[in-house]
Symmetry: C2
Subunit: 392 residues, 2 copies
């Protein structure tokens, strides 16, 4: 028995725990009485094109549809993704640069496992998605937390520079960001890239950026999501259609190893090797067909745009402080006491489910997921007001 | 860069390599001129019930279909599996004993990761599926190979007893067996169980059987596939619908931790923890719906029964020696020289693709996968005859 695995299984993440509490509470007092802002489950239905592509795929002979694909994914699907990226970003990727995965979790885990050795260090920009630490530690590495800038939660490049050692293999960036909802500016990423190039030179070894991008298409209010490999060559991109196409349960995503990255071919093969070690075999073949078919379908961000406005208008009205959300579907709100968990617990008393920032590696804030129905936001007003009143 | 991952990615398994060679060769000289017995890709189409269940699932609101399920799988799917097992094996499993996975690979990897610590030993019965070693070594453990009985390839219980040390955490059994096609007899498994119970007593700690069962329903000629947890309580079952329902690309399977197994609740939670560490999140939700719907659909073994007869009749005729195949869709044939790889290479010269036993941990044999069309078997006769003639 592995005690660490037991602990990870026995102690679900704070997010999942709050979500489970919410389900139970809804069953108890009625779904409309609980304002559940806990989870990142998209509230926009998958595009119609997905169901159409699935129905079309079902017309194929079953063996053509359901047989193993190559471990890295069907060439046709990888080519469709490369074409789509090349069209959008003026790049020249080929199908051989792509390794399909069961979502971004598998993509990140494979990248970390591929490019590190036990004893290495991987930097996470806090606040960060808590599973990063689990994957980094499983590879035998140290998860080094570097806080983002306290003013605007952009990357703190001087702090990152100070944290880099000869053992640093990678830095994980996630923009649009979970949990903060920030989008890193081009200037911020360029400052990072310049620093990293200097450090690579100084240390004589590559430092990879692992760009975790499931929210790439979810940006609002004119925020531009830069194509990170354009700014810094040694970037590995991890993507998932979980959020953009609202397919989180179906587990489909990819790793892109751009050919300009250091040791690109060897890193790509190491990602394939990591996939074997992690038990992946291949991404679900039906979803591979669907993605190849639907890749150019526009992402519907309108409901999130509306939710964002409803939520920020309401919080402005009530006098809450928060970071202006630029992407993803999260709002990062200042807790009204230093202990974010106590604040989240107090919110629960008003049937308001918001995740304490502690589980993302920083104190003093809460994450409000606005991938919910409009009614949930509208109807939560009294609860947010009562929570505020508790502190006045 | 992790050199081990690179090597695993750069050196595909011998099976995959031969399969890739076959694809290229077919493109060169025509598919009907290459007799490809290399891969375990089912040749029976998925049952009609699968396509019907998929079409039915597509009528659900997309968010009900595609949202995250709990990490261990949707309760309704786990309950359907428990009900099916209870009906077939007279057991009393509950949904809480099941953890859904992306196929048997993920199930095995999660089990090994859950119950071992670095430095432990896990025993594989040779010949064995080569990825076992990769998963065992990734958990920091030693893969201890114990040859099965040379006469009939049943488990060699005295040899297993001799290989057990205080570090032995688990033994992997796979019946019906890949690559040999044997089904372990009830007597053989009972002898194993008695030995293991005595060893557990002696060592004062559990030794788990990990029962890898993707071929459970594929048994012929009256072979009985025993329900292993009935014979030995400390058994974890790893299953996949890849072979029985011909869905290898879709990645759907499970781990069953029977409640009577030692530390069952803690092992179950450790499997959940291992899933997090390995980046699994949840099994594809569409497939979870489909399995819940189709679980009682009978498995169509008739094509394999016919293929098995065609192949064994032909090999008898030509005077080849082999182990009588009782299950799965593999035939284990004696190489006509001690060097199985040289024999497989010579077969290639006759456009006959059969996998050398070396990659399964033993010398002197080849694996003939008969999950092929009947014509492939019939038309391969001259090639098998010419190969035989090479050694006369």
């Amino acid at each position: 028995m592995n005690e660490r695995m037991y602990e990870l299984g026995a102690a679900p993440s704070a997010i999942r725990e709050l979500f489970a509490y919410g389900l139970a509470r809804k069953a108890e007092i009625g779904a409309d009485k609980v304002y559940d802002f806990s989870l990142g489950n998209p509230s926009v239905p998958a595009p119609d094109a997905i169901a159409q592509a699935m129905a079309k795929a079902l017309e194929l002979p079953p063996m053509q549809l359901h047989s193993y694909s190559p471990a890295q994914g069907a060439p046709a699907c990888r080519q469709a993704i490369a074409d789509n990226l090349n069209k959008r970003f003026g790049t020249a990727y080929s199908s051989d640069d792509l390794y399909l995965t069961m979502g971004a979790a598998a993509a990140l885990d494979a990248c970390i496992t591929a490019i590190t050795n036990p004893g290495d260090e991987v930097i996470a920009n806090a606040p960060y998605f808590p599973e990063y630490r689990i994957w980094i530690e499983n590879a035998g590495c140290t998860c080094v937390e570097v806080p983002t800038r306290s003013s605007d939660f952009q990357l703190d490049v001087p702090a990152l520079a100070a944290a880099i050692t000869p053992k640093t293999r990678a830095i994980i960036v996630n923009s649009p960001n979970n949990p903060v909802g920030t989008v890193y500016t081009r200037e911020n990423l360029e400052e990072l890239a310049a620093m990293l190039r200097a450090k690579e030179e100084e240390l004589g070894q590559p430092i990879y950026l692992i760009s975790d991008e499931p929210y790439r298409e979810l940006a609002y209010g004119g925020a531009q999501v830069s194509w990170v490999p354009d700014i810094y060559a040694d970037t590995l991109v991890c993507y998932s259609w979980s959020k953009s196409f609202s397919l989180p349960g179906e587990r489909i995503g990819y790793v892109l190893v751009p050919p300009a990255a250091a040791d690109a071919r060897r890193v790509y093969l190491a990602v394939c090797g990591a996939g074997r070690v992690l038990g992946y075999v291949c991404a679900p073949t039906l979803l591979q067909k669907v993605i190849a078919d639907c890749i150019d379908t526009p992402v519907n961000v309108e409901p999130y745009v509306r939710n964002r406005k409803l939520l920020t208008d309401m919080l402005d009205d009530l006098g809450y402080e928060y970071i202006e959300p630029a992407g993803a579907f999260y709002l990062w709100m200042k807790a009204l006491e230093p202990d974010a968990q106590a604040f989240s617990d107090k919110a629960k008393g008003h049937e308001l489910l918001i995740v304490a920032s502690d589980s993302f590696g920083v104190g003093g804030w809460v994450r409000v997921s606005y991938c919910v129905s409009e009614e949930t936001i509208v109807n939560s007003r009294d609860a947010f007001a009562a929570l505020k009143a508790d502190y006045e």
